[in-house]
Amino acid sequence: MKRVLSVEKLDSLISYILIFGVLVSLAVETLGIAGYYSSNGSLNILFRPSFAMKGTNFFSYVWKLIQELSVGGWSPMQVLSCGIVVLMLTPYLRVVASVLYFGLTRNPKYLLITLFVLFVLTVSLLISK
C-alpha cells in the first residue's frame, strides 16, 4: 500500500510539473508575440544571428536573461526567450523530480538510471560551440 501511494505521488508531481511548465511557457510566448507586434508594428521573423538564442551555454543564457529581466524594461524578444526557456526547463525539472523521488524511495537502480539521464541532459545543456 505504501509503495502504491509513493508511485502515485511521483506521477502527480511529474504531471503538475508538465502542466504548469507548458501553460506558463505558452502564456509567456503569447504575451511576447503580442508585445513584439505592439512595439514593432509587424510580426516579421528575422533570421539574423542576433535573433537566435545563443549564449556561452544554456544555463548561463538563463542566468543572463534573469539578470536582464530583473533590471526591468523587458523587450518582447526577452519575453519570447523567457517562454522558450520555461518550456525547455520543464522536461529537465521532470527528470530532477524523478531523481529525487528514486533517491528518497531508495531505489538504487532507478536512481542511477535517472541520474544518467540528468547527467547527459546537463552536459548537453552546458556545451557550447
Partner: protein, 276 residues
C-alpha cells in the same frame, strides 16, 4: 519570408492534423516552413522545441492516470537522449540536401502506425526475461474501454533499449517525435500494451526533444521568433485535434493520413532535388 502570425495559424492546422493522423505537428510543419522559404535547419530546431510543448501537454494527463510506465520510459530514455544528441549534432554539420532526403525517407516509417490494428492491444502470456524483470518493467492500469485493470509485463529490454537509440537519432536529426517508430519498438519488441506504448512514447519524446534542442541552442540555430508561435499554435491545434479525434470515422483519418504523408514526402524530395 513568413511572419509570426502566419506561423501561428499554420501551426494550429499542423498541430490539429498531426494529432488526428498521429504524425505529430513537427512532421507537418517542417516541410510547410521549408516551402515558405525557411531554412530547413531553422525549421528543424524550432520543431524540436515545439515537440517539448505538445508531448509534455499530452503526457501530463496520462502520467496522472498512471497509464505511462515511468520506469520503462526512463530506461529507454537513456538511449534516446544519446541518439538525439548525436542526431542533432549531425544536422548541425550536414549539407541541407541530405536532410530533405532523410526526412522523406523517415516519413515512410510513419506507415508503421497504420499497422497498429494488427498488433494485440493487450499482449498475452508474456514471459519476462531476467534483465527486464531486474529492471522492474511491469505494471498495471485501469482501461476505461475494456472496463478492467490490465496487468502487464515488458520483455526484451536488452534489445528494445539499443533500438531506441535509432529512434532518438532520427528525432534529434530531423526535429520530429518519431512516435510511430517508438511505438512499434514498444509493441513489437518490448510487448507493451497499446495504451502504455503510446503514452510512454509521449513521455519519452519530451525529454528526447530537450536533448536535441540543447544542441540546436548551442549551434545558434534556434530562433525564438519562429519557435514561439510554432509552440503555441501546434499545442492549441493538437489539443483541438485530440478532442475531436474520437468523433471522426477511422476511414477518413486514414485517407487524411495517406494524402498528407504522400504530399510531405513529395515536397521534401522536390526541395532536395531542386536545391542548387
Amino acid at each position: 519570408m513568413i511572419d509570426m502570425l502566419s506561423v501561428l495559424i499554420i501551426s494550429v492546422f499542423a498541430g490539429f492534423l498531426g494529432s488526428l493522423t498521429g504524425l505529430g505537428g513537427g512532421s507537418i510543419m517542417i516541410p510547410v516552413l521549408v516551402a515558405f522559404g525557411v531554412p530547413v535547419k531553422y525549421a528543424i530546431a524550432a520543431s524540436m522545441v515545439t515537440i517539448i510543448a505538445t508531448s509534455s501537454g499530452s503526457a501530463a494527463s496520462y502520467v496522472k492516470e498512471r497509464i505511462t510506465n515511468v520506469k520503462a520510459a526512463f530506461y529507454l530514455e537513456m538511449f534516446t537522449i544519446v541518439g538525439a544528441i548525436i542526431g542533432a549534432t549531425i544536422t548541425s554539420f550536414i549539407a541541407p540536401r541530405f536532410l530533405y532526403f532523410f526526412f522523406a525517407g523517415f516519413l515512410l516509417t510513419s506507415f508503421l502506425g497504420l499497422s497498429g490494428h494488427m498488433r494485440r492491444e493487450f499482449p498475452k502470456r508474456v514471459r519476462q526475461d531476467r534483465f527486464s524483470k531486474w529492471l522492474e518493467l511491469d505494471g498495471s492500469y485501469y482501461d476505461e474501454a475494456a472496463k478492467k485493470t490490465i496487468s502487464y509485463k515488458i520483455k526484451n529490454a536488452q534489445i528494445g533499449g539499443p533500438c531506441m537509440l535509432i529512434a532518438g537519432l532520427a528525432a534529434g536529426m530531423l526535429g520530429i517525435g518519431a512516435g510511430a517508430f517508438k511505438v512499434s519498438i514498444h509493441e513489437l519488441i518490448l510487448k507493451m500494451p497499446s495504451k502504455v506504448s503510446t503514452t510512454t512514447s509521449n513521455f519519452i519524446i519530451g525529454i528526447t526533444a530537450l536533448a536535441g534542442a540543447s544542441v540546436y541552442f548551442a549551434s545558434g540555430l534556434l530562433f525564438v521568433g519562429l519557435a514561439a508561435p510554432m509552440a503555441v499554435g501546434t499545442t492549441v491545434g493538437a489539443l483541438v485535434g485530440g478532442k475531436i479525434l474520437n468523433r471522426l470515422p477511422n476511414r477518413l483519418i486514414r485517407y487524411l493520413f495517406l494524402v498528407i504523408v504522400v504530399a510531405l514526402i513529395a515536397q521534401m524530395l522536390y526541395e532536395g532535388i531542386t536545391l542548387p
